[in-house]
Assembly symmetry: none
Homo-oligomer: 209 residues x 4
DNA sequence: TCCTAAGCGAGACGGTACGTCTTGTCTTCCA
DNA sequence: TGGAAGACAAGACGTACCGTCTCGCTTAGGA
């Protein structure tokens, strides 16, 4: 008990330093792009010693990716609050668009074109895990021979492409509209591969906002 | 006339050096990945002096991208030979799959996951130019309000995603089969947005915000 | 009264910590040499917190030199017990050889080649004070023009050189023997400069410039 | 022949860089003392890149010691010119005093109290080699039981002590005078240990300047 | 056949960023 | 309240690449 308390308080100090470094990183990414950033830049911005940086993160990539974890945890909470199950693809995508809308600058830093592709690659991989499991089941249930990796990659890459365009172009579309676009682009293929018998409009009814 | 001849012969020597550097680059990419490569690695492999490298290319990125140009010229010739017009999207995509099949190792170096994303980004941009012009026309002809950038990016990102997966996974599909998959994933959306005449505004009703 | 008692007890505690740090230092010097030692090494060895170290000593040099003071006090007591006056140079030197013999490991740490030169420099300076005053008097009494700094430095450096060699080489000579050597090396010069009455100016004739 | 020429020219460039670094080092030693100097200080002063420094010297100690080599070579030449044999101790010492006089600032940097003890230790070791061999022979010829290490160390440490004092104190004595002092301090002991039978004044006759 | 200008290899160089290490200060808790 | 634990700012270290440069050699065309 005592040890835990002590640890927590120490953690608070540590957490503050980590947060400071992450914030400095986000700000710098939006200013000059991930690649151009130097460890020195980050620690100057965060008012932190060099060794402190390396006590917390292996290198600037590690710092960047630590941000993805934060974002990912927030997203999971978001999904929980909205009581979205992983099965319902359209709700998941909509939740991500919403989350991106509410955390715009963080998303821009991590997933925008300034953010380097490393963070994006991790997000892609995370999404892949979730979607692949689901699609693989569905396709095998229907004895489809269509390679599930391809379908998964298609859905993910299209989603990512849409998301990054939205973040970078400052296009005046709402999260809901973006999700609508996504459905229009993807839905038809998903239908034809997964939902041969049920009514075509099925997924559309769910997409009401 | 004389000057041109001299230039050509000199060019032959120069060309040999450039080629050597490009070849070294490809080999090294397949060995250890683009990011990990050092200028020193390249010039050691190509048996070339450091200054020679910088006489021909600005940096290793420049060398990499010079390869994309080569590839792109080959592709254009390929399209000419097959008498493919840019309008016919499916034939263009099929030609690219074919070309990738015939130049597999070069494609792997430039577009595979070892190749860094820089070359891929350039290919993407090139494709975007071609496809966007075409789609924008078609959509405006039909008075569709669907953003043509989004549709273009969707088509390109899906194609790239498919292509890189094919190159990296050594999946036993032919170029024709890959194009078949591509059509299955994309075709339906393209059709509904381009080929149907009336219901273009349909999605707007659902997307009320 | 209570306060005083309490103070004493506290002092005892403090003394213990200081002692622990000094002991750790000596041990480490003999193991790896003074230069290579880190403050971290010392506090790990002494089982002491970093801040504790800096509460007692300014830096590792301060800690080392604090040891010289201890050694110096012991030496003074030694001289008192043996009732040696500072005037009798040979007895002073013999006393130091004896003391070094009895406190061999401490001397090795402070004056040996492992101990860095800082401690040695301090010892040299201390000896210089004592010897210089004496020699300066004697030389001026005899109206000698021989620079007393030079003579002092000669005596000290020869003594130090002998002492450190003895400590480092584990040569099987007793303190008495070492002092005998010292007299043989130094005595003749001291005699000719101090004990002979007339021919002080003798060397000047040869030193024509 | 061609290869040698090429090498020489390259060497000239390299030599210039090395020289620049050494000069910067000497200047900085005289300004702030060896210990306080940073590699960065040196390369800033010498207008040299960091990697260049490390291409030539392992660390600042290596740079310092490389200076001793230079000094040593100069000294050897000096001895050659003056046709001094190693046997004649007094001439060797006089030559060193003379050399120090002519290269005062270099000696101050390397052997003065600003120079750290590293260079001095090396000089001491070099001298030790020369003197020890000679003295050891002489002592064993005479079947003396006096330890030759001790005598050697005595002579060297006294010489060094005299030299450094001279360099640091700016005392107004000439090289010849310094050597006279040295003889007065050392000569008597050397005599009594080496020259038992011959006339005592023997060495004095040789020391005429 | 010799000459000469360009391409070239070799690699020294100035510079920048890296990740590591040590120092001395500081804060927080415990006994 | 003093000491233990250890996070922290500061900054030097030695390494790794970069892109520029200087230097002779080779070499292939025009004299």
């Amino acid at each position: 008990m005592k040890q835990q308390l002590e640890k927590q308080i120490t953690d608070r100090r540590i957490q503050k330093t980590r947060q400071g470094l992450q914030d400095a990183m986000y700000a710098l990414i939006l200013e000059k792009g991930y690649e151009a950033i130097t460890v020195q830049d980050v620690i100057d911005r965060a008012n932190v010693g060099r060794s402190t940086f390396y006590a917390h993160f292996q290198d600037k990539e590690d710092l960047l990716l630590s941000g993805v974890e934060v974002l990912w945890k927030q997203l999971e909470e978001h999904l929980l609050v909205e009581t979205v199950s992983e099965e319902d693809i359209w709700k998941v995508s909509q939740s991500m668009f919403q989350h991106a809308q509410s955390q715009r600058s963080m998303y821009k830093a991590l997933a925008g074109k300034q953010g380097g592709n490393i963070a994006l690659k991790l997000i892609e991989r995370n999404l892949y895990q979730i979607v692949f499991r689901h699609l693989n089941d569905e396709l095998s249930k229907r004895k489809s021979t269509f390679p599930s990796e391809i379908l998964t990659r298609h859905m993910i890459s299209s989603f990512i492409s849409l998301l990054t365009w939205w973040l970078d172009s400052d296009a005046p579309y709402s999260a809901a509209q973006m999700n609508e676009f996504y459905q229009q682009l993807i839905g038809c293929a998903v239908e034809s591969l997964l939902l041969s018998s049920p009514p075509v409009t099925n997924y559309r009814n769910d997409a009401g906002v």
